[in-house]
């Protein structure tokens, strides 16, 4: 291919100069802009035509927009240029409590969740649960205000290894398993940082103010 050989011919040198100028420019350039770099006696338009043709099938294309020229990555490759990175993150305490309340009480409105939790929930908490695919909106309740209710999803059951919601242990089971032991609560009260985090979350939640 000719573009792999050292260029001896003046037209090729012009093309190279235009190519480098466009590459190094922070903004799209007009023909006049380019001429200011490569010199007045140069057929910039011919060079642009050559380059457009040369790059047409490449990963990078030379394009004209409103009389200005610039390189851009080929549009069919856009999907490559974004990479998804998966990060495992721990659900916050507010998140897991809200999820539990939804699982035990669904369909349940936000106000009901807050009544059960005894503290308000921030908007982000439900967003996270929906982003995780565990919670879905479950229609509006036909009561004054028609509050939106939430319920769990099949993905929730799958993630937590449950056949149905009925597999969730009842309150008596929890107490028997020591999960409702008051000692636990006493310990929790000592974990001040956690309490602080909860308070912060509430402060940042301005739509309850």
């Amino acid at each position: 291919m000719t573009d792999q050989l050292p260029t001896l011919d003046p037209a090729a040198d012009v093309t190279r100069a235009v190519e480098a100028t466009l590459f190094a420019a922070a903004e799209p350039l007009s023909v006049q802009d380019i001429a200011a770099y490569v010199g007045p006696d140069i057929d910039v338009k011919a060079a642009l035509a050559t380059l457009t043709n040369l790059y047409a099938s490449r990963g990078v294309n030379l394009v004209e927009r409103g009389g200005k020229w610039h390189f851009q990555t080929a549009s069919d490759l856009a999907h490559i240029l974004r990479r998804e990175r998966e990060e495992t993150r721990k659900l916050s305490r507010a998140g897991i409590e809200t999820l539990a309340i939804i699982a035990y009480h669904e369909p349940v409105s936000r106000a009901e969740i807050e009544a059960i939790r005894g503290v308000q929930i921030s908007k982000g908490t439900l967003d996270v649960l929906m982003e995780a695919g565990w919670v879905r909106p479950a229609g509006r309740r036909e009561t004054p205000g028609r509050p939106l209710t939430f319920a769990t999803t099949p993905a929730f059951l799958a993630h937590f290894g449950l056949e149905t919601r009925r597999d969730l242990p009842g309150i008596d089971d929890l107490r028997a398993a020591g999960l409702l032991d008051p000692v636990d609560l006493a310990f929790e009260a000592m974990e001040l940082p956690e309490t602080g985090a909860e308070a912060e979350e509430l402060e940042s939640d301005d739509d309850h103010a």
Binding site: R83, E84, L91, I96, A100, A132, D184, L185
Partner: protein
């Protein structure tokens, strides 16, 4: 020891204010820099340099500077003194008792100059290269590559039900249940002591009235309850108490 002295002599004084130095003796960065500039002015390979000529040049420069009433930094004068000493050593008949020899000192000075010179040349060659952002250019406004972070949320069933338990417990008024403990209640103790004392006229030590047990906590509880029981029974006039002094055995008998 001798080695140490050589190094000390070459490790030039360091408390130099660069700004002042520039004002005082031109653009040299310390005596070694000045020496290298003088050596290069000999226009020969540094390996061929005449150290004696170099010393003379340096001393002449320092003398000129003094004549111009320039204030010389101390390290320039220290170097001048050291070079004068080196010169005399090189010129005088060899004295084998001087260690290290002036020739060794001269050689070390030359090695230092060669090294500084090599790095100065290397720096110049580096700076002369085609440099990114000056001679060659990267794409200044790239589209950029995006990393889309997708969170995988992590929680397990245990955490879920534990969280629910916490919520319920917090919402409901807590019920406190005191565990059954093995104690002798005051009522039991009063009944027991009054029964055992009966109509006994002999003084009897209080320990005799305690129930048998292997549980030390229960024995403590029994002693405390029984003691309170004797006080109560004494108040009621049913028994009499006797104790010789504090912590002495406590005796009980029917009143």
């Amino acid at each position: 020891m001798a080695e140490q002295l050589v190094i000390d002599a070459f490790e030039l004084p360091k408390a130099v204010d660069e700004d002042r130095l520039t004002v005082d003796v031109g653009s040299w960065e310390g005596p070694l820099d000045l020496l290298l500039a003088l050596a290069r002015s000999q226009k020969v390979d540094l390996r061929e340099i005449s150290i004696l000529a170099l010393v003379d040049q340096y001393l002449a420069f320092i003398n000129d500077a003094k004549a111009l009433k320039l204030e010389l930094a101390a390290d320039y004068l220290v170097m001048a003194a050291w070079l004068a000493y080196l010169k005399s050593g090189l010129l005088l008949p060899k004295d084998p008792e001087i260690e290290p020899s002036p020739e060794e000192l001269a050689m070390r000075l030359q090695l230092r100059l060669e090294r500084l010179n090599a790095m100065r040349d290397a720096g110049a060659r580096l700076m002369g290269r085609d440099r990114l952002g000056r001679d060659v250019f990267a794409r200044p406004a790239p589209e950029g590559l995006r990393v889309v972070r997708k969170s995988l949320w992590d929680a397990n069933l245990f955490e879920l039900i534990q969280a629910y338990g916490h919520v319920k417990e917090r919402a409901e008024p807590p019920l406190h249940i005191v565990h059954q403990r093995n104690v002798l209640t005051l009522e039991e103790a009063i009944a027991r002591v009054s029964r055992l004392v009966g109509a006994a006229i002999e003084w009897t030590v209080i320990q005799r009235f305690l129930p048998e047990s292997d549980d030390p906590q229960f024995r403590k509880s029994a002693l405390a309850s029984s003691f309170l029981a004797t006080l109560e029974l004494a108040r009621q006039g049913k028994i009499a108490l006797k104790q010789a002094e504090a912590f002495a055995p406590l005796y009980v008998r029917a009143a």
